[in-house]
C-alpha cells in the first residue's frame, strides 16, 4: 500500500511514504504539518484546499498523492519569503480581502496562478478564474480588487 513518493514542497524536497491514492490534502496537513491548506467540502466544490502544482491551481482534496510525484507543490506556507509577504498576500492584507480567513489560502494561491501567467488580467478574467472558490463571508468584491492591485504590483501596470 504505502509507497515512497518524492516531490518538492515549497522549494524543498519532500519524501513521504504513503498510499499513492491518498488525497494530497491529508498528506500536507497530517504528515507534513502544513495546516494552512484547508478542507471545506471534501469534494472539490469549494476551493479551500487549492494548492499550486507546477504552478497550476489544484484541488488537493481531490488529487491523489501519486499525481504530484516529481512535481513542485506550493502551499500558502511557501509564498512569503523571509517574512516578506508575496504581492498577492500583501494586497489581500491591504484591502482586508477576507473575513473569517478560512477560504483565504485557497483564494490567494488561485489568484497567484493567474497573475504569474497574466498580471494584466482583466476584471472579467479574474472573476472567471476565481469562480470555483467559495467565500461564505462575502469578501469577493474585495478579493477582486486585491487581485487587481497585486497584478499591478507584480508588473502588470499598463
Amino acid at each position: 500500500m504505502a509507497q515512497p513518493i518524492h516531490f518538492t514542497l515549497n522549494g524543498k524536497p519532500a519524501h513521504v511514504s504513503a498510499d499513492p491514492k491518498r488525497m494530497l490534502v491529508w498528506v500536507l496537513r497530517e504528515d507534513l504539518g502544513q495546516t494552512g491548506t484547508k478542507v471545506g467540502c471534501g469534494a472539490g466544490l469549494c476551493g479551500a484546499c487549492t494548492v499550486l502544482v507546477d504552478g497550476e491551481p489544484t484541488l488537493s482534496c481531490s488529487t491523489p498523492l501519486a499525481d504530484v510525484a516529481g512535481k513542485s507543490v506550493v502551499t500558502i506556507e511557501g509564498l512569503a519569503k523571509d517574512g516578506i509577504l508575496h504581492p498577492v498576500q500583501q494586497a489581500f492584507l491591504e484591502h482586508n480581502a477576507f473575513q473569517c480567513g478560512y477560504c483565504t489560502p485557497g483564494m490567494i494561491l488561485r489568484a497567484c496562478a493567474l497573475l504569474m501567467r497574466k498580471p494584466r488580467a482583466t476584471r472579467a478574467e479574474i472573476l472567471e478564474h476565481m469562480e470555483g472558490n467559495l467565500c461564505r463571508c462575502g469578501a469577493q468584491v474585495r478579493i477582486v480588487t486585491a487581485i487587481e492591485a497585486a497584478g499591478k504590483a507584480m508588473g502588470g501596470a499598463q
Partner: protein, 701 residues
C-alpha cells in the same frame, strides 16, 4: 432605565447596571444560570512590563472583525497605540464570562463594558503616575501609554513601568469613558488585527490544532431525521489496522490517527435504522406553516382593525414564504478534546464558549470548573455555531478513548446537522384609505418570530402575531419544523422584512405612487427617513410608479438598533428567469461607527450573502432526508454573482454604537423582489426567487 442613561454610566456600578439592562434588552441570550460580567477591570485588561496590553474578552472572532473593533475601544480609552493591544478571546479559563457572540451584540452590549473597564484602568494608572512622579493629576497627560508632566515631558513613566504585569489593586468609581468628540482612534478605519496570520495561512482553526496521540473520530449518523439506530456491525471497520470503534450511549464512532482513514473506515460500518421520518417536504412545508398562521400569539394590537377594514377602499392581502437556509460556513464544525489531570479541555470553534462549557460539563456529569473551552479562529458561523454539539461529542469520546480526540464534521454532516434558518410563512392583510394611506395592517407569522416586522410606518390599526421564535434560540419550536432550526444572521428579520417591504411595494403600486415616496409618506422616524434618503441620493433614485421596466427596487429594515436602506438594480432574462444583480446601494445608520472599514466589510458581506438567500438558497428535503449535501446542489454566491456595491455610513455620533454584523442583510430579499417586479412586472412571493419561480410568475402574468 433609558438606554442613554446607562451608556453614560461607567465604572464598577456601571458594569452592573449595564448587565441588568442587557438582561432586559436581550432575554434570548440570558444563560440558564445567571451570571454577569465581572466588575473588576483586571478581568479584561493586563498590562505587561513592556507596555503591551492583553485584552481578555469572552466574545469570539469568527470573521466579523470584533477582534479589531474591541481592541480599538480598549486602545482608545487607555490611550495606547492599537498595535500594543493583544486580544485573547473565548478562553473560559482566562477570559471573563460572556453570554455568547451573536445578535450583533459585541459592540452594542459588550463595548460599553470594555470601555468602562479601560476608562477606569486609565484613571487608576494616572493616579499611580501622579504618586510616582509626585505631581497632582491635573499636571499629567497621557500619550501612547506614557504618562508625562505637562510642560516637562522628560518627567515621565510608562504604563508598563507602573504596573509591571501585576494586578492593579486600586479602583475608582464613576469614571466616564471619553466622549465621542475626544476619540482619535475610534471612527478611523483600522487594519484587521487578524490580517497577517490569515494571509500567511498561519491562523489556526480548530481542525489545525495538533496534539500528540490524537485520534480522529467519525461518528455514525442516521440517513434521515426521525431515524434512530437499530443495529450496527462494526466488524469490518475494526479489522482496519489502527482503527478503534467506540460506543457511548447512542453514539458509535470510528477512530483512527488519520482523519481520512477514520472517514474511510466509517464507510465499512453496517448500520440499520428504524423510526418514522417526518412527512413534510420542501413543497408541503409551505401549506403546513400557512395552516398555523392563525394560531400565533399576538404581540402588538393597536387601533380598531375591523373598523379600519370597513373604511378601507382597496384591500391588499398576500402570503409570503421563506425557505430553510443553511449556514454553510466554509469551516466545518470541529472540536479537539483532551482529558488530563481530571480536567476536560476542548478546543472548539463555537460562538458561545461559556455556554458550551456548561453543555460539556452536563454531558460528562462534571463540575463546570473541570471544563475549559478554548476557541481558536472560527471560519465563519452566522449563528450555526451557537451551540457546541461537536464539542460534546469530542469530549465524550476523549473520556472513553483515554486519548485526545478530534471531531471534524464533513460537508454532508454540516448540511444534515445544521440548525437551519426556519422556513416561515407571513400572511399580511392590509388596505388603503381613500387618500392613499395605509388604513390597517395585520401581519401573521408562522415558523419564526415577528422580530423587526415593524419599522415605524404609521399604521392607524395594526396587529402582529407569530407562532414563536421557530428555533431562533437553537431549539426546535414545538412541532412546526421537521428538524432542528436555529439562529441565522438576523433571526426572524430576513423573513419579516422580506414580507413587509414586498408588501409596501404592492400597496404603493395599488396607490400608483413611487415606492420610495410611498414609504416616506408613512414615516416620521428621522433615522429611517435619513437612511432612505441617503440610499436614494447615492443610487440616483428617479421617482416613478412600478413596474417601470428599469429593474430598480427599494427596501428598508432594522436590526439591533441599526437602520438600513437598500436600493438595487437587476436585469431579468425573461426566457430563462435568470436574475443578474447589477448594483446594490446600502445606507446604514449604526450610531457611532467604531471601525468604518470594518462596518463596510460587513455590509458588503451581507449584500453578497443576502443575494444567496434571495435568489438560490433553499434546503430541499424529503422523508427526513436533507437532499442538499454539498455545494454542487446548494448554490451559495460566487464571484460572477457579485454586483457593483456602494455602502453609505450615516454619521450619527449622538447614538451609542449599535449592531453591525447582521443589520445589512435584512433588506436583501425584499429589495431584489421589488427590483425583479419593477423589471418584469411580476412579483415572486417565495424565497429563494429561483429562475423556475420567476418563469412561473412570468407565465402566470
Amino acid at each position: 432605565m433609558r438606554r442613554r442613561d446607562f451608556f453614560q454610566t461607567t465604572g464598577a456600578t456601571g458594569l452592573f447596571i449595564l448587565f441588568r439592562n442587557y438582561l432586559e434588552a436581550a432575554p434570548q441570550l440570558v444563560p440558564t444560570r445567571p451570571t454577569s460580567y465581572p466588575m473588576d477591570f483586571n478581568a479584561y485588561l493586563r498590562i505587561g512590563g513592556d507596555g503591551r496590553v492583553s485584552c481578555l474578552v469572552g466574545k469570539v472572532e469568527m470573521g466579523q472583525g470584533n477582534m479589531t473593533s474591541l481592541a480599538m475601544l480598549a486602545a482608545e480609552e487607555l490611550d495606547v497605540p492599537l498595535d500594543v493591544v493583544d486580544m485573547l478571546m473565548g478562553d473560559t479559563d482566562l477570559c471573563p464570562w460572556d453570554g455568547g457572540t451573536g445578535g450583533s451584540l459585541s459592540i452594542w452590549q459588550f463595548g460599553p463594558v470594555l470601555c468602562g473597564a479601560a476608562a477606569e484602568a486609565r484613571a487608576v494608572l494616572l493616579q499611580m503616575a501622579g504618586d510616582h512622579l509626585h505631581v497632582p493629576l491635573d499636571r499629567l497627560e497621557v500619550k501612547a501609554g506614557v504618562v508625562s508632566v505637562k510642560g516637562a515631558p522628560a518627567r515621565q513613566v510608562t504604563y508598563g513601568q507602573l504596573v509591571q504585569g501585576k494586578r492593579i489593586e486600586r479602583h475608582l468609581a464613576d469614571v466616564k469613558p471619553k466622549p465621542v468628540s475626544a476619540h482619535t482612534l475610534v471612527g478611523t478605519s483600522a487594519p484587521r488585527k487578524d490580517g497577517r496570520e490569515k494571509v500567511l495561512g498561519a491562523a489556526r482553526y480548530t481542525a489545525d490544532q495538533r496534539m500528540p496521540g490524537t485520534l480522529h473520530a467519525c461518528i455514525v449518523r442516521p440517513p434521515a431525521h426521525g431515524a434512530t439506530l437499530k443495529s450496527v456491525d462494526t466488524s469490518a471497520a475494526e479489522r482496519v489496522p489502527g482503527v478503534r470503534v467506540l460506543r457511548d450511549g447512542n453514539m458509535v464512532a470510528v477512530l483512527h490517527a488519520s482523519p481520512d482513514l477514520a472517514r474511510k473506515a466509517l464507510g465499512l460500518v453496517k448500520v440499520t435504522f428504524e423510526g418514522t421520518p417526518p412527512a413534510l417536504d420542501d413543497i408541503t412545508i409551505r401549506r403546513h406553516l400557512a395552516s398555523k398562521s392563525a394560531s400565533g400569539k399576538v404581540s402588538v394590537q393597536e387601533g380598531d382593525l375591523k373598523a379600519a377594514e370597513a373604511r378601507a377602499i382597496a384591500p391588499v392581502d398576500a402570503e409570503y414564504f421563506n425557505a430553510y437556509v443553511a449556514h454553510a460556513a466554509l469551516e466545518p464544525h470541529a472540536a479537539l478534546a483532551q482529558w488530563k489531570d481530571g480536567r476536560m479541555t476542548v478546543w472548539a470553534g463555537v460562538q458561545s464558549p461559556f455556554r458550551v462549557k456548561t453543555q460539556v460539563a452536563e454531558a460528562l456529569k462534571l463540575p463546570a470548573q473541570q471544563v475549559r473551552i478554548i476557541t481558536p479562529h472560527i471560519g465563519g458561523a452566522f449563528g450555526g455555531k451557537a451551540t457546541g454539539p461537536q464539542a460534546v461529542e469530542a469530549a465524550r469520546l476523549a473520556l472513553k478513548a483515554g486519548a485526545p480526540v478530534q471531531v471534524v464534521w464533513d460537508r454532508r454532516e454540516e448540511f444534515f446537522l445544521d440548525t437551519f434558518r426556519p422556513a416561515a410563512v407571513v400572511k399580511i392583510r392590509s388596505g388603503l384609505d381613500p387618500a392613499g394611506h395605509i388604513a390597517y395592517w395585520d401581519h401573521a407569522v408562522a415558523g419564526t418570530s415577528d422580530r423587526e416586522a415593524q419599522i415605524g410606518y404609521e399604521l392607524p390599526a395594526k396587529r402582529f402575531s407569530s407562532t414563536g421564535d421557530g428555533g431562533d434560540l437553537g431549539t426546535s419550536a414545538g412541532g412546526l419544523h421537521p428538524f432542528p432550526t436555529g439562529a441565522w444572521r438576523a433571526p426572524g428579520a430576513n423573513t419579516n422584512v422580506f414580507a413587509r417591504e414586498s408588501h409596501m411595494d404592492l400597496l404603493a403600486a395599488k396607490a400608483h405612487v413611487d415606492p420610495l415616496a410611498f414609504r416616506l409618506r408613512h414615516l416620521t422616524d428621522k433615522r429611517v427617513i435619513c437612511v432612505l434618503e441617503a440610499a436614494a441620493e447615492r443610487f440616483g433614485w428617479v421617482a416613478g410608479a412600478t413596474p417601470s421596466g428599469r429593474g430598480v427596487g427599494v427596501a428598508c429594515g432594522s436590526w439591533r438598533g441599526t437602520l438600513v436602506a437598500a436600493m438595487a438594480e437587476v436585469a431579468v432574462d425573461r426566457q430563462t428567469g435568470q436574475v443578474r444583480v447589477k448594483r446594490v446601494v446600502l445606507a446604514q445608520d449604526m450610531g457611532v461607527v467604531i471601525n468604518p472599514d470594518g462596518a463596510r466589510q460587513q455590509m458588503e458581506g451581507a449584500i453578497t450573502m443576502g443575494i444567496g438567500y434571495a435568489l438560490s438558497e433553499g434546503i430541499r428535503f424529503k422523508d427526513g432526508r436533507i437532499l442538499d449535501e454539498n455545494f454542487d446542489t446548494y448554490q451559495i454566491p460566487r464571484f460572477s454573482w457579485i454586483p457593483v456595491m456602494d455602502t453609505v455610513l450615516i454619521s450619527n455620533p449622538d447614538l451609542q454604537a449599535q449592531g453591525g454584523g447582521e443589520p445589512p442583510i435584512v433588506c436583501m430579499g425584499a429589495v431584489l423582489a421589488n427590483a425583479i417586479h419593477d423589471a418584469v412586472g411580476v412579483r415572486v412571493f417565495e424565497l429563494p426567487m429561483t429562475p423556475e419561480r420567476i418563469l412561473e410568475a412570468i407565465k402566470k402574468g
